[in-house]
Symmetry: C2
Subunit: 200 residues, 2 copies
Amino acid sequence: MRHKARTARADLDQVLAAGFVCHLGVVVDGTPMVVPTLYGATADTLYLHGSVAGRSLLGAAAGTVCVTVTHVDGVVLARSVFEHSANYRSAMIYGVPRPVVDDEEKLAGLRVLTEQVVPGQWDYARRPNRKELAATALLALSLEEASVKVRTGPPDDGDSPDAELGLWAGVLPLSTVWGTPVPDPVLPPDVPLPDHLRRG
Amino acid sequence: MRHKARTARADLDQVLAAGFVCHLGVVVDGTPMVVPTLYGATADTLYLHGSVAGRSLLGAAAGTVCVTVTHVDGVVLARSVFEHSANYRSAMIYGVPRPVVDDEEKLAGLRVLTEQVVPGQWDYARRPNRKELAATALLALSLEEASVKVRTGPPDDGDSPDAELGLWAGVLPLSTVWGTPVPDPVLPPDVPLPDHLRRG
């Protein structure tokens, strides 16, 4: 099997660094609820943006949560439907998140989150004022309890009898790409695109 | 606010049709667990591939689950950090999934799932035999209880005092793209790429 559980800390860091959207799972009145939200990771902490989540979710986040980050790298086409699979990297983090209440830490956490999404943006945009900080919900989750699963490589039936079927088999790669920045329609045309948003 | 809850059935269909990976949330011993898996959707049912999930998860899926499908379409860069956001389409489906045990329905469900990922592949690859069917876990979840949230468009602070700051604001589009198919290294070089895998 090419599905592998990874235990090295570097694997976790790599999966977290490769994205900025996670799925946050909580239990609300015994029922699971899974919502997408933005995150930023430091060496030991995952910061989660709580605004999207809403109040009921934040209340539920007083218990254990599960945060999952998934990157789908390709679809694995085997000779048999049974051996079809996906290449992916996925991290699951368990823990009881801590609401960030201190203004200094909240600023630091929002910086981590903003820089994870768009490096350079924190120093460019107007930073939150006191009122905005108060209106921003931020959760901090320890990275201590985490697991990583990865699948890479070709299909698993290349040495099976099915290989004699003469069917094409391999991987259809998938990737996430940035497009050309789209200015706000009301942006004055003389406002330049800053350097940190010029990719490639 | 440009964040919108959508209630039309067409919105749900559109979100589900645009992907094939979901995050399945279950409760295991009171703790939420969120795992990525593949899905396929019909008009009224979501079929979930259970093999990735593992046995403990399938046991937990005897209760209510939450399945979330999310497409991130872009990052919304506002003048202020506070107004930063993401453009996305997300669907949440709640229900108690039914394990598919009938061979005919399992074949039909696997066909839906396979065709959702790679249209044309079901008729091309070798279909599951009886033994493989028995080894495949498939869950069926009604689409009856579902909600959709969508955010589109530019940042929200174009008419705020921050517009005077002279900062660039707009959207960085994100999209998921297929790459060039990568043949299995052991594939004989004379096996052609089938037509249904030639995209663009």
